[in-house]
């Protein structure tokens, strides 16, 4: 059952401070409204995960690990590997996160990342098939929010993509219908790099990649994403509040620009060769 969250009372004062700054194109941490926070990407830190990435965006820190198993394909997609995305808002990341199974926020995060990967056609799932109709690679992409200073969406997707792009999957030979590890490894081909940008609206103004103090006082927020071809690959209004329809055009345009910026940063940091896109 979705439960309406409490609104911090002191938030009102902070809102008017942030809004006043915004009218002057400024923010509390010195950024311009459309500036993202610094992004750091580290990959391959963990040896028991087939892929891993630690990504920070300002003080928000996300750790994603990938475990690979051999499983059965879905009946309606017998020649495709599968993946699932889980996200845990770890209680050590914020006093506002509770221990226990993912609540609606964790589930929303997982599903937004899942849709971005799936609809962005990041993986060629047919290349993750081992024996048609019987055995395929099953990827578990598990996202952990370690430190939460606002906007866990964008760095979560970055870390999922970085972990995927640097993952090492064991190769198998099919011998008499059975699978045998060859001892070799391969990195899954990445066909597309969709990223998202979280957009916060206050009054008739907007800012990107809110840090926590900003996030708390937004009128409304959106997560929007795009791939390298300029396709919109993700839209999620993720908070209460109304988005003025007339703001949408400029929001879409800045999202295209800023996801490009993230992509360039990503390609600098992560050794990924983009496969031909579908």
């Amino acid at each position: 059952m979705a439960l309406a969250p409490k609104k911090d009372l002191t938030a009102k004062i902070m809102r008017s401070k942030i809004y006043s700054l915004l009218l002057q194109d400024k923010r509390i941490d010195g950024r311009k409204p459309t500036d993202l926070r610094p992004i750091k990407i580290e990959t391959g830190l963990l040896s028991k995960a087939e892929g891993s990435a630690l990504v920070s965006m300002g003080s928000t820190k996300i750790l994603t690990g990938i475990k690979v198993e051999v499983g059965v394909p879905f009946p309606d997609r017998p020649d495709e590997g599968t993946f699932t995305v889980n996200a845990e808002l770890l209680p050590l990341a914020s006093a506002s996160f509770e221990p226990g199974p993912p609540d609606e926020r964790g589930i929303e995060l997982a599903r937004v990342v899942d849709r971005s990967l799936r609809e962005g056609r990041v993986l060629d799932l047919k290349k993750l098939c081992l024996i048609e109709g019987e055995k395929v690679y099953v990827l578990f992409i598990d996202i952990y929010v370690l430190d939460y200073d606002g906007n866990y969406f964008d760095p979560s997707l970055i870390s999922a993509l970085a972990a995927l792009a640097t993952a090492k999957l064991p190769r198998y030979d099919v011998v008499d219908g059975k699978l045998q590890k060859t001892g070799e490894y391969f990195t899954p081909e990445i066909r597309s790099l969709p990223f998202t940008v979280m957009v916060g609206v206050i009054g008739e103004k907007f800012l990107l990649d809110p840090q926590l103090e900003e996030e708390k006082v937004l009128d409304v927020s959106l997560v929007m994403g795009a791939d390298e071809k300029g396709n919109i690959t993700c839209v999620q209004k993720n908070s209460p509040g109304q988005v003025p329809l007339e703001l949408m055009d400029s929001i879409v345009d800045i999202v295209i620009e800023k996801t490009g910026e993230i992509r360039r940063k990503f390609l600098q940091e992560v050794p990924v060769k983009l496969a031909e896109s579908p």
């Binding site: 979705a2 919109i232 993720n238 509040g241 879409v252």
Partner: protein
């Protein structure tokens, strides 16, 4: 349910004979349940949803109550037999996410500040799913809130737009949702010309996205008109003596 060869034929007609910008037959009825404080039934073609509202009531447990406004709880739920493959009992991750986005849309228009320390419960039950259940559910929920007498800044109307065989279409049915390229549920508060729910499943170009919003707006204006009619019909049933 297998994929038809084409989702749009040479005459521009869709699998169910509609034009690209045509809504399915819509039925709305307000006050369909007896024991809730407000309720509504909404049908968009094969999609059938019921919504009910309870409250405002005292919030419990107490520490959840807010000093300055009511909390609004929302559950979007599907019957096990509303879909092709039986839905397991209990809430799926999808249902939990949609409960969140529907609640966040409703919070936007309900005057919650009028009921400090109270709670309002909104239940959306999908009886049959044929595309657009969350927007139909939200449309029904806003009618149920109005029926319950909760003051609102506006009604909310929603519809999905999608991309099917490369073309933008209004009010996706299940087949189009499943085999199309994109499904974008949109809900608005028409009086404010603002978006209160927006999601995307699939890919669109920037241009398609912008046109999609405009197409949604067109559908939403019609749905909004039907909502007001349904409310009028309900309240005209109440004879003057009752008031």
């Amino acid at each position: 349910m297998s994929r038809p060869e084409r989702l749009i034929d040479e005459n521009g007609r869709r699998v169910d004979g509609r034009r690209a910008d045509e809504l399915r037959p819509i039925r709305m009825e307000v006050g369909v349940l007896d024991k809730s404080d407000g309720s509504a039934y909404v049908e968009f073609g094969g999609t059938k949803v019921i919504a009910a509202v309870f409250g405002p009531r005292e919030a419990h447990p107490r520490h959840l109550a807010l000093p300055d406004r009511a909390i609004l709880n929302c559950r979007y739920h599907m019957t096990s037999f509303s879909v092709e493959e039986r839905k397991p009992l209990g809430m799926t991750r999808r249902e939990i996410e949609l409960s969140k986005v529907i609640r966040e849309a409703l919070e936007t228009v309900a005057f919650l500040e009028e009921f400090p320390r109270a709670a309002i419960d909104v239940y959306v039950e999908v009886v049959q799913a044929d595309g657009g259940t969350r927007t139909a559910g939200l449309t029904a929920a806003s009618l149920a809130l109005a029926d319950a007498g909760i003051p609102m800044a506006d009604l909310i109307a929603g519809v999905a737009v999608g991309k099917v065989d490369g073309q933008l279409v209004l009010d996706l049915c299940d087949l189009e949702d499943k085999y199309g390229e994109a499904d974008m549920p949109v809900a608005m508060a028409p009086r404010f010309n603002s978006i209160v729910m927006l999601q995307l499943n699939g890919r669109m170009t920037v241009e398609e996205f912008k046109r999609g919003l405009a197409l949604a707006k067109k559908g939403i204006d019609e749905i909004y008109r039907l909502q007001r009619e349904a409310l009028k019909k309900k309240f005209s049933k109440i004879s003057p003596e009752e008031v």
